[in-house]
Symmetry: C2
Subunit: 119 residues, 2 copies
DNA sequence: CTAACATATACCCATATCGGCATGCGTCAA
DNA sequence: TTGACGCATGCCGATATGGGTATATGTTAG
């Protein structure tokens, strides 16, 4: 396979998995507890196949776990995979405070150069 | 425009912007300070147009800021946009601890049902 | 055994996305 | 003013993606 990968597979990366708004909604929903696909679909106003597909992606990256219960399949949260994301973003914490200052300075620079232009 | 949006535009969402590994690398790199495009490209082993494109996406979601300096264009980090991501994932913090327990229980369940099958 | 139910898949479409290459454009130096 | 430099864009190709609809698969109830 000399496949020229056009982009990273969504299915192999948590960052990609949570890039989808509906998948994030699903994760939030599942914080309240396990749910069968139909419930997820109903509560989020999704068509059932859509819900299944998103759940599959989430399952493949390990953010969700499924358990058979009769003829239902209960999906439950496994949030451990979110930890790396939290930590990665956390690595910028000192910067988003600092950024305010820098931005202020930046805005002032702009302001200043704008005034200079007007002279 | 009856455009049937196939997926959320990468350019309008921080979650999507950081879904790209190389863009994450760029952000990390920029923690060390402002850099011109060429530098970013060189340090990450990217072709210049590629670097420019990624930087553009990052700029459009506000994670990066650019400043002209002579014939160079310096890109600098503006990490504030990462805060929501950090907070969103933080909303699962209690779960990724709890998850260990649940997973243990789950694994045991599996173990048990497997044994029952073998009888 | 069979019908009803719960889910997952297979397809198809439209579009988004990334990478590579060539080229346009603005800025500075000589 | 002109050439070199730094960067952005345009275009193309291959592929991934999300949504919709129909259908296959598996499970339980009767």
């Amino acid at each position: 396979m000399l496949a020229v990968m056009a982009r990273a597979a969504t299915t192999s990366d948590v960052f990609n998995a949570i890039a989808e708004p509906q998948r994030r909604e699903i994760l939030v929903l599942l914080r309240a507890g396990e749910r069968p696909v139909t419930e997820v679909a109903r509560e989020l106003g999704l068509p059932q196949p859509g819900a299944s597909k998103h759940l599959r992606v989430l399952r493949e990256v390990g953010l969700v776990r499924d358990r058979r219960a009769g003829r239902q399949r209960l999906y439950g949260l496994d949030a451990r995979g979110l930890r790396p994301v939290h930590e990665w973003t956390g690595g910028f914490e000192q910067f988003w405070n600092e950024s305010f200052d820098r931005l202020d300075a930046y805005v002032q620079e702009l302001e200043q150069s704008r005034q200079e232009e007007q002279r």
